[in-house]
């Protein structure tokens, strides 16, 4: 069974309000969801609230997942990112999301033992791929994904034409895809 097949099964059980399926999904992706929440909010307490909101949304809206638009893991990440960006925007001036975009975090602890090896291998591979990108491509992708900036906001911030930002976005994603041909958790 591929991870995606397993996750689809868990999602069907979520739709039937099977709480143990939520626990299984959390055990598989809890660190990932929290990691994205922490990277965007850059505050532990906010990240916890955001992660909880995200998981509750997954629980309540499992039926809205559409397999044609990506893997279950990708959907979880999308939900976590949206909730985290909402949180940062509602906090307004206290903490700007774009400041978090370029920021590095030291992992507080490593992931749980059963998933640590696979996830750390995957991350090493992905980090290497990101390092291969042109710096401006990587910056545009991170400002978009973690900073929640629109393309025109990025253009203004980097003082570049909008068309350039659009091309960098596409080139960055294309290059990332070439470097990592297999989607994580597919």
């Amino acid at each position: 069974m591929t991870p995606q097949e397993r996750d689809l099964g868990l999602l069907l059980r979520l739709q039937a309000r099977d709480e143990s399926a939520l626990a299984s999904l959390y055990d598989a992706y809890g660190g990932l969801v929290y990691g994205v929440a922490l990277r965007i909010t850059s505050a532990g307490a906010d990240a916890e609230d955001v992660a909880q909101e995200a998981w509750l949304q997954v629980w309540r809206q499992a039926a809205s997942y559409d397999a044609r638009r990506g893997t279950v893991a990708a959907w979880l990440l999308t939900v976590a990112r949206s909730r985290a960006l909402d949180r940062v925007r509602s906090l307004g001036s206290r903490r700007r999301a774009e400041d978090a975009a370029g920021q590095e975090f030291d992992p507080v602890t490593t992931a749980s033992p059963q998933t640590a090896t696979v996830q750390s291998q995957l991350r090493t591979q992905l980090e290497a791929a990101l390092a291969e990108l042109q710096p401006e491509q990587r910056q545009v992708l991170e400002l978009a994904y973690y900073g929640g900036l629109s393309q025109s906001q990025i253009a203004a911030r980097l003082e570049r034409p909008l068309g350039t930002v659009k091309s960098w976005s596409r080139q960055g994603l294309q290059r990332l895809r070439e470097l990592v041909p297999r989607e994580p958790w597919a």
């Binding site: 689809l8 069907l12 039937a16 709480e19 939520l22 626990a23 959390y26 055990d27 809890g30 660190g31 990932l32 929290y34 990691g35 994205v36 922490l38 532990g44 916890e48 992660a51 909880q52 509750l56 629980w59 309540r60 809206q61 039926a63 809205s64 559409d66 397999a67 044609r68 638009r69 990506g70 893991a73 990708a74 990440l77 990112r81 975090f105 030291d106 992992p107 507080v108 602890t109 992931a111 749980s112 992905l126 791929a129 992708l141 978009a144 994904y145 973690y146 629109s150 393309q151 659009k166 976005s169 596409r170 994603l173 294309q174 990332l176 895809r177 990592v180 989607e183 994580p184 958790w185």
Partner: protein
Amino acid sequence: VTVHHDEHLDLCAGLALGNLDVGDRERLEAHLAGGCPKCEAALAEYTAAVTCLAAAAPAVEPPPALRERVLQAARESAATPAPRPAMPRPTSIDARRESRRGSTGWLWGRVAAAACLALALWSWRDAARLRSELRAQQTRIATLESQRADLEERLAAEKRWVSVVSAADARVAALAATPDGDPAVRARAIVDPHANRVVIAFSNLHVPTGRDYQLWAIRAGKPRSLGLVHADPAGDAVLQLELPDAASVQAIAVSLEPTGGAPTPDAPTGPVVMVGAIGG
């Protein structure tokens, strides 16, 4: 239908990143609405790349207490009046949609009635009392609004499944009981080979104690598990499943397995109790 330009691919990257400006997003959505295989393929690639980007974030072990908080919140959310039964009855999907709309209408009726009551109270209750009433109503409306949003999400999901049943080239299979099976069970599968989805409805399906029914897709003579079939106490079950490469599925079968199902997803261990070939 707008003609494909390479500029659309740039916009697809922005859509996958979720950061297109409004005008660009509307332009791309109008283009995609007309169907564009090039853009759809690119969008899938870019979406996968965005997942890679997210997965490169340092995985941080969440505080251990968070797991229990999440599960507790889910339990509490499940304890509030559930807008949907655990397993939908195999009434027609239209009927289910109708009943849901009905229950939302009822909820809004309650709000309206409560608002009238609040007005009637004006004549003899003091203002402080009325303010607290108002706060309670606002909370209730907020709750109802979130329930309504939930229902709309669900309805949108149901519509995607309705399209399976009404697809022009949907393939139908009536599952028949084998000599090992219970001839009282009725089951029908509808496969949409393009959307790669299948809807299967069972009635009179009663699971023997200590056993589970497991569903299988047969491709090139080989079974692949589609999961367990859980019927409600009346023996009814409707399953809506993603079925990768649906066009290659030759038959759908049900086997009787130990509780929890067969240990491996490609080998039924118990007797096959129902089977149906997928018609053209």
